[in-house]
Amino acid sequence: MRAIIGPAALTIWCLAFVAVCAGDQAEGEKPEAKQKREHASHARALQLLKQRCNVCHGDDADDVRGDLDLRTREGMLRGGETGPAIVPGDPEQSALFVAVTWRDPDLRMPPKENDRLSEAEVELIRRWIADGAPSVATPSGEAWTGPADGIPIATSGGLTPEWTDRRYAREAVWSFFPIARPRVPESDARHPVDAFIERRLAEKQLEPAPAADRVTLLRRATLDLTGLPPSPDEIEEFLGDESPDAFERVLDRLLASPRHGERMAQHWLDVVRYADTAGFSNDFERPHAWRYRDWVVRAFNIDLPFDRFVLEQIAGDEFPSADTDSVIATGYLRMGPWEHTGMSVKAVTRQQFLDDVTNSVGVTFLGHELRCARCHDHKFDPIPTRDYYSIQAIFAAAQFDEPETPFAEWEHTGRLDDVRRRVERLSSVDVLRGDPDEKNDALTRNKKKRKKYLDNAATRHLPRSFAVKTAKPEETHVLIGGALDTPADPVSPGVLTAVVDPAASAPAEVPGAARGRRLALARWIASADNTLTARVITNRVWQWHFGRGIVATPNNLGATGSRPTHPELLDWLASRLIDRNWSLKELHRLVMTSATYRRSGDHPEPERVAEVDPSNELRAWFPPRRLTAEELRDALLFSTGELSERMGGPGSFPEINWEAALQPRHVMGGIAPAYQPSTRPDERNRRTIYCFRIRTLADPMLEVLNRPGPDVSCERRDETTVTPQVFALFNGQFAHDRAIALARRLERSAEGLDARIELAFRLLFGRAPSAIEVELCREHVEEMTAYHRAHEPVKTTLPRKVTRQMIAEQSGEIFFWEETLPLMEEYVPDLKPWDVGPETRGLAELCLVLINSNELVHVY
């Protein structure tokens, strides 16, 4: 629905839309046509000044910056503190022109990068001044905004008629066009993906890289699909299988592995910001959040159709016959950090939730940062602020809930007794001891807080879910500037209204009643007609394999995101996804069987590549990547043989840097109970996705390895090189423990130093060492073993208690107390240097080196 256009603001120079690009010279042009064209160009220049400059230079009469009023030609001629703004006919002498070019570092307008004029816009200003800076008044008509050849997009309407009627560059709003079903290009390529990719390569006359060798390919595919490296046996088997479909069968095996869901879930949890606590100063535990994490792992493992995956996360509780487990999926809606304290205003924290969930749904499923439309109509995308609040109105009928939810058969409940016992053990003893002579208010307070904290943790094993329920909705208004105290028009629940092709889209009917609002939203998102949803997930899957999506900004398919490098391929894959019942496993298989996926990471013509396509937009070669933090941790545990394959359940507590573990952490106005790792190695050494995630206590090793914080949606992992990574991997306890464990495994599985060295290479790198490498390593181990024969290891003990201190609020004095760590009494440590002989320690030095090597941490 297009809003009725009100009378345009009087100060606007209005003009009918002229479909000639301003600035173009047309040969043999008729005088009227020329006049019309110039007119359009001038009107556009003035429109631009109004939009970009008047906010500081005239709109606010009390604060005219530089005393320069740009609202009228007279104001420009009169000028401000630094003289006249324009010299009609002479752009170079006009301060206004010089300012918008940004060429003078002391005079740059508009001053902010975000508002800076494009070259074409600067040219409009130049031309207008050169033409004598005419005032342009035209008969009223449609307000003119957007590029001359832009397209209009109908929406529910903006706050101003100019916004409602603006036009958009086609390529900026590409994601609002219906998903095309392009033909696969004619080509020699046997695989449709390659046909699309090779067409662009041929255009640029760039030869693709040859296929990667088989070991490289197997390691790449295994890590991509499971997050773990292939075992030496798996490599052996693949190398020995010369049948033409050997790789396809590998893919079948990997896609069927339970490890696959764990790997995919990690990608998903990055986007939705999973953590087991709520963040901020109280960082309350969310004792049932783990069931959502397990639900996600399972969804990927059973290949839950993606449309269903969407439906359950947004409205799993609103299905007419809700499965017990679909309500668990609504935990998604509450994944953001959030807290409400005695110092919070209820209306404000509620609004924080509503803003958070509205934006999250936009980013996660629709690839649009909806928050841009919270305070005003979206500056670049066809999303009016009204739409933002319409979606918010859907969630106005959702309230937090932790309902009784019986465990489903697939859920991992085997460890619940252990989990319960752990908390009981922590609660059973009076672990805080302070000096009784002091008036130790901090101690009493902390005892109370500790109890509250643990009472909450003690519910982890109960059959409840972290969910939402439908409740009486609050009334939703457009909030001008996003501020609660300035409610404007009421809005009814609805979805995004931007429509490029009305014939191809079905409008969503969102009920006014409380129940069914979310279900309607979910159905609209999960519809095959939605132009965004299938593209967004297809693009994510592509990125999960190639490191970069067809659109490089998977959370942003809008005007400010990057453009698709292969738009037709994206649409072809997206429509295929829909046609194959939204099966993600099918999509993985399709992408990974292409020659494009199997290419080498090293291109034979690096100079040519650097010249034609330095950022590998054309995918002539396969971009190498780093192991992510979780992959590295899991891969090391896997290679040493320590990794527990146990799935799911409440989070485990791995051993993290002890100083970080015991670092005091504020919660609820006190100090949180000390972090104590799980007591048994098999509990600690589980896959990282099953480790308890505390927002205010990151595992420092994972953090420095670029694991993203859980407060902001992460669309793509960073890969950086900083010294704390070296400290973690070269000095850290985790790496040293793995080195000892690996050395022990090598000794048990192979006889003789050379064979052990070879096994180490096979386990970590998937290949045999060269003769030179064996020699280097042998010498090193011998030298180190000799050193260790002469030097006893220094034994360290694990802490049994920790001293706490706090500045007491009431006195400003420091209070001390002691916290004993009851779990440490039954702690079974990992294998340590003093548990083994000098030979093992010598071999472990080599293992530590290999753990730190470039070859281990890169995937080619």
Partner: protein, 464 residues
Amino acid sequence: MPSSRRPTRRDFLYGLGATLGTAAFNSLLAAEARGPLDPRAGHHRPRAKACIFLYMEGGPSHIDTFDPKPKLDELHMKEFTRKDRFASAMASGKRYYVRSPFQFRRAGSSGLEIVEHLPRLARVADELCVYRGLQAESINHPTANYHMNTGNRFGGDPAIGSWVTYGLGTLNRNLPAFVVLPELNFPQGGAANWSNGFLPPHYQGTTLRPAGSPILDLRPPPGVTRQTQRRNLDLLQKLNASHRERHPDHGDLAARMDAYELAFRMQSEVPELIDTRGEDERTLELYGIDAPGDDGFGRRCLLARRLVERGVRFVQVYSSGWDSHDYLERSHGARFRAIDRPIAGLIQDLKRRGLLDETLIVWAGEFGRSPDNGMRGGKKAGRDHNAEAMCVWLAGGGVRGGHVVGATDEIGARAVERVHPLRDLHVTLLHLLGLDDNRLTYFHGGRFKQLSQFGGKVIGDLIA
């Protein structure tokens, strides 16, 4: 309207990840070639090369430090009731006014009003520019901390120190560029207070912890010597070198090899840095180390001087315990004893070494405190949180010392003169360090982001 402007540049940005904005585009390319932390010129002539930010965590009371309110003597213990939908539970209900339990003295040639329990600070009063017009937005500790430290109440954005090192690099590559000296207990909101946010991790604040290992895992486990470690490193680099021959076009490999060598050097550099035994008696005394009231803050202030002396750009020093809801006299009193000598000592020490002119010092907490208090089981003469009035001061490079700027109302409930939002303080700090907030941008999440979020103004009155 500018929906499609400069697509090529923007696409390039995605590939590159970092830029100082178009203006600095070329210098950026050079900077990237040299490394993200190499020193570079800012946007204009800086008034200070480094910044020491003294963070008073918990919300120090402006009314009881630098902004006396005699009117409260009249209102003392007078009760009233506040009802407001947008007031927090803490500020609502039955309340009473509280006068300051402290006396004030005029200090310096400027006659600056300072609470009597900061006598040493009073001696350097002419260096301070006290600002009473600032307003924050949040009255919750973590969100207010995030706001003061990152410009964004909800966290996830880069800290001021990250922006500064992103803009200027560092003058000492063997030390982190942005160093945080926390108490044993981290401030509320935790490490997100010095996060690099969406900036590359080179710009993350590094904590030098007051106890244990100053940087996590700086040292290998006990028993590992520097010699064996060097031998391991040698083998590692040999294996890496042959690996690199197989992938000659993969630039990441060399960077990672360099990081190992830098880390190895840092292992010896950092312990030398934090070892203050070489400082003379007089210096230790200046900072009040081991003097009555010493809670470690003095040592951290001394460390801050040693850091800026060695070219570190941004140092943040925490002092916690300012959240005096009750018994203000006792609790703020103890805080005064802890900070008076260290801060006065820091200013004097920097001055005698000729460093004060090129070092910007900031003293601030996350918000101010209220003139009134909630009953909460009796009148215990404290103060609650207040975002509408607070007090900060600046000293050092480019600062208009010996001045008071702005004012709060007669009871200190809200700022009324020269009022600026917090973002303007951020813009001013960047300005003094030679950076223009509007040009210190990073493209992320679909827009060029900046410390002030949406732009702000320099508070000119604070600048000499």
